[in-house]
């Protein structure tokens, strides 16, 4: 994904949030949140339960008035007066699909299509049902559908109005792995159609798989960026060296090598070498090991998942909270 597609110079961002905050009395839901989301971007909004993710979505969706800061949504300033115009350009799929269970899939879509005053509604309903692969269940009452299928109907409902920004609030919450995979495939499909997606989740593998950029919220915004950049920001680059037998004098092998900043022995025959540039350090470490007569099993660059990043930041917050 190129960053040029996300924040093109000739178009304002799909979402621009500047110091936004919401308090319920003394309780802070979220505060001092800044970010921008470009058109066509899939933006992951991560955080633990109670971090303020859903409240942020509701605020940007004009359901809740912010107590501080400002924002533009789909190019329109977030104010109470602009509520109708903003809601016309966005769609929100809440955590619970919120379908009328006694009504059929088509009747649910008809209702929402009319609420959006969608032109050519019959065709749009067919298109939306095709997009979520539900044409064969169009006449079924929503109460007879599984949770995964209901989530698909909620996605079809959101697609009816062809939104500029689609907010998905925990779209796979409570789904089994097959249901979650289906939703992931649908989101992939939407991304390919160029829909801007704001995805809140606490499923990190989901965010890692689907999102171009992620932000981590824990009442305040803890970090934002591409997952690869966040890894670099938060974790030192390391090489993990494994030898058949422990090195008799590892310091003589690793100390003084180019681009090697330090090392430590993790367990018997396994060494973690901190490096500033793995492209320089890895060949130097390999040569030094061969010169020392070591039987090398593997040399690999360590990988930090989004989960590592997330846990690192949330643990920091918990640590600060305990002090």
């Amino acid at each position: 994904m190129s960053s040029g597609r996300l924040l093109s110079a000739d178009r304002s961002p799909a979402l621009s949030v500047r110091g936004l905050g919401k308090h319920f009395g003394e309780r802070v839901a979220f505060q001092d949140v800044f970010f921008e989301v470009g058109y066509g971007e899939v933006f992951g909004f991560l955080g633990p339960n109670g971090a303020g993710k859903t409240t942020t979505v509701r605020t940007l969706g004009t359901l809740i008035a912010p107590t501080s800061g400002s924002a533009t949504v789909a190019g329109i300033p977030l104010t109470a007066e602009n509520g109708v115009e903003i809601r016309r350009r966005i769609a929100i799929v809440p955590e619970s699909p919120g379908l009328y269970l006694r009504l059929s899939v088509t009747e649910n879509l008809e209702c929402f299509g009319d609420l959006y005053e969608t032109p050519g509604l019959k065709d749009r309903i067919q298109d939306a049902l095709r997009a979520v692969d539900m044409t064969d269940r169009a006449g079924d009452a929503c109460g007879t559908l599984s949770k995964g299928l209901r989530q698909r109907v909620a996605l079809a409902r959101a697609l009816l109005s062809d939104p500029e920004v689609l907010f998905l609030d925990e779209p796979t919450s409570g789904l089994d792995p097959v249901g979650a995979r289906d939703v992931h495939e649908l989101i992939d499909g939407l991304r390919n159609r160029g829909v801007t997606i704001f995805l809140t989740t606490h499923r990190l593998e989901e965010a890692e798989r689907l999102c171009d950029r992620v932000a981590i919220l824990n009442t305040t915004l803890r970090t934002i960026g591409w997952p690869a950049d966040l890894r670099e920001q938060l974790f030192a680059k390391t090489l993990v060296v494994r030898t058949l037998v422990p090195l008799p004098e590892p310091g003589r092998v690793f100390d003084g090598l180019p681009a090697v900043d330090g090392w430590h022995e993790r367990d018997s025959g396994a060494y973690v070498v901190s490096v500033s540039d793995s492209a320089i350090a890895a060949p130097a470490v390999t040569r030094a090991l061969v010169a020392a007569g070591a039987d090398v099993l593997s040399i690999s660059e360590s990988y930090h998942s989004l989960e590592d990043i997330y846990l690192e930041l949330i643990d920091e917050d918990n640590e600060v909270g305990r002090r």
């Binding site: 319920f24 619970s96 919120g98 009328y100 209702c111 609420l115 005053e117 409902r157």
Partner: protein, 241 residues
């Protein structure tokens, strides 16, 4: 502010579809009017022809105006809090619908079946009286002025009950509490129509016109006031914005 007919119709049509498939709502709509109608009907059937003179003095069938006071209150009291409890309110409020349109759709969906049921029960009562009551009793009960009062006050009373019911529904967090309060709020209307029916409050043209104008004003104001009270944040989070 312009009201979108299409959005109002969407809410109205959705509500009617839900009523059709919700047996408990249909049962509540059907049972209450029958309770209103059956007991007095039996009493009327038992009356001898000699009681016709005393019946001619009162406006007995006006007690049926209790139906448009009670039935819509029950439905309207469920309308907002019911959706909130089902979890269907938030998706609706994320659409471009305005509070005024949402409430108007809900009100119409309570109004149309309530008024239809009220007129149907009135027609049924008239038919039963015509067929089964003693001839003198029937002619004493059929009065042109009562027919006019039924036609005029049924929609006006229903409108008032609906706005009170929706106001309660938009502020409640529990369906049962909302419906109980809605029923309680409809009792003054029932009391007044019953007192007029039994001639405790003497019906006159002036009183009729005065009450009709008052109810019309309350109905129009009701929509405006309830719309002004409509608070998306409160409905979603339970906290006032």
């Amino acid at each position: 502010m312009s009201v979108s007919r299409r959005r109002v119709r969407a809410v109205f049509r959705k509500e009617l579809r839900e009523y059709r498939r919700n047996t408990s709502i249909v049962a509540a709509m059907a049972v209450l009017p029958l309770i209103f109608a059956i007991n007095p009907l039996i009493a009327v059937f038992a009356l001898p022809a000699s009681s016709a003179d005393s019946l001619a003095q009162g406006n007995t069938l006006l007690y049926l105006l209790g139906i448009p006071a009670v039935v819509p209150a029950l439905i309207a009291a469920y309308s907002v809090v019911g959706e909130r409890q089902q979890g269907t309110l938030e998706p609706v409020l994320t659409t471009p619908i305005r509070g005024e349109e949402f409430l108007l759709g809900k009100a119409l969906a309570s109004f149309v079946p309530s008024v239809a049921i009220s007129f149907a029960v009135y027609a049924l009562v008239l038919a039963c009286v015509g067929v089964f009551a003693a001839p003198g009793v029937a002619s004493a009960l059929f009065k042109g002025r009562e027919l006019v009062a039924q036609v005029l006050f049924t929609p006006l009373l229903a409108g008032w009950s609906i706005w009170v019911g929706i106001a309660i529904s938009a502020r409640s967090s529990d369906v049962r509490v909302a419906q109980q309060l809605g029923m309680l709020a409809s009792l003054p209307s029932v009391a007044v129509s019953t007192l007029v029916a039994y001639d405790v409050i003497h019906a006159s043209l002036g009183l009729g016109i005065g009450l009709a104008v008052l109810l019309l004003v309350l109905d129009v104001l009701g929509w405006r006031i309830v719309s002004a009270m409509f608070d998306r944040e409160r409905l979603i989070t339970g906290s006032k914005s």
